[in-house]
Assembly symmetry: C2
Homo-oligomer: 205 residues x 2
DNA sequence: GTTATTTTTGAACATCGTTCAAATGACGTG
DNA sequence: CACGTCATTTGAACGATGTTCAAAAATAAC
């Protein structure tokens, strides 16, 4: 009759393992994540990891899931801005600040690769899409005339552009690059794209 | 007195190893590169690899060096365009086409990470910078009034933006995304940025 | 309290990158 | 050609790592 108790203990160990993996990744980066270090930190045996999780890839995705959730929270205040342009700019700026303050965990979101041919599980794929939808919401308000699939592509482009700039900035020895400069660059990028979205016609070109 | 002969044989084995590594990476991706597979493909013993190269990281950088060179060749025809805007657009389009036609090798350019704290060797770092300088040349012609360091940052931003869009497109299950759509998106992105460069003032904001 | 089921354990395995002493081959000299 | 010296090549061995699984321990059920 203690089946609830045992299920909880199982979930507890799982959470401890994800906690430990998150801490390891925050300290040493995605490549520094080792099964033995994680289990030692979580206070359990090596094999216990494979009881709570299919493999290390799933463990990384669980950590990434948390990072996406925290990123979502960090993005929330941007909604207070008044115009769609201002909201988009605030979103991008909050995104950059989050990436800078959570370098290794943010990098893991995009560095992690599953073995070729293995698709990302739906539960995780959707978390990414929720984020992109959130970022794209003000843009959709800006161009209610465009078809949704065109808008989806435009949002992905905006997201990808910001992602690329931050990605390059974090990986190059841009340790010298001051945070303020990166934020300005991204702001200029987003401004150009949002202004472009206002001007350009429906299609590409 | 055959010291030239032996030096040539040494270089030959080195090139065979880089050839083999390039083929392996093109077939299986960066994560699929294994020392044993490379040496077997090159027709030598396992240990011979560490005679020709310090470690697998250097081997990857040698392959990346070739990829950058081929990318440079693929970008050359873009110089035929007449206006700076057209040159930039042609460069971006050629870049996208190259990435799509060399997915795994192009991805390896950005997926490869050295152990934390180990800097990228100068000879390889400069190859990246040469590429960025090439891409940025027409933009510099477009804004001769801006200081060089501001322009360098702007070019990095444009490069990063295009990089990010292509990167996301290649890693998501964007297998469904047709090539033409990606090229259009990148063209729209570059147009917005180049137009923005014409309009915006010197600084950020 | 005893048995059945589940969970946890960590030794063992397979697969890596990397090293290094021994074997092999090349080169110069008598 | 013969011999000695040096460089190169080899592949067995090592350590690290992800993963498995039979045994042990813990828990649930009666």
């Amino acid at each position: 009759m203690d089946e609830a108790r045992t299920a909880d203990r199982k979930a507890d160990l799982r959470n401890r393992l994800i906690d430990a993996a998150e801490a390891e990744m925050a300290e040493k980066g995605l490549a520094g994540l080792k099964a033995r270090d994680v289990t030692q930190r979580a206070g359990c045996a090596l094999g216990a990891l494979y009881n709570a999780v299919a493999d290390l890839d799933e463990l990384v995705m669980r950590v990434n899931s948390r990072t996406l959730a925290r990123l979502g929270i960090a993005l929330a205040p941007a909604g207070d801005a008044t115009t769609p342009e201002a909201v988009t700019l605030a979103l991008a700026d909050a995104y950059v600040v989050f990436a800078l303050q959570n370098r290794r965990l943010w990098s893991a979101l995009f560095e992690h690769r599953l073995p070729e041919g293995v698709p990302i599980p739906d539960w995780h794929q959707q978390e990414h899409e929720v984020l992109i939808a959130r970022i794209g919401a003000p843009l959709i308000a800006l161009r209610p005339d465009l078809p949704v699939d065109v808008l989806r592509l435009r949002v992905r482009t905006l997201f990808g552009a910001v992602h690329g700039v931050v990605h390059l900035a974090l990986q190059g020895r841009l340790v010298g690059l001051p945070e303020a400069a990166l934020r300005q660059e991204v702001a200029a990028l987003v401004t150009a794209l949002v202004v472009g979205a206002r001007q350009a016609g429906t299609g590409g070109r």
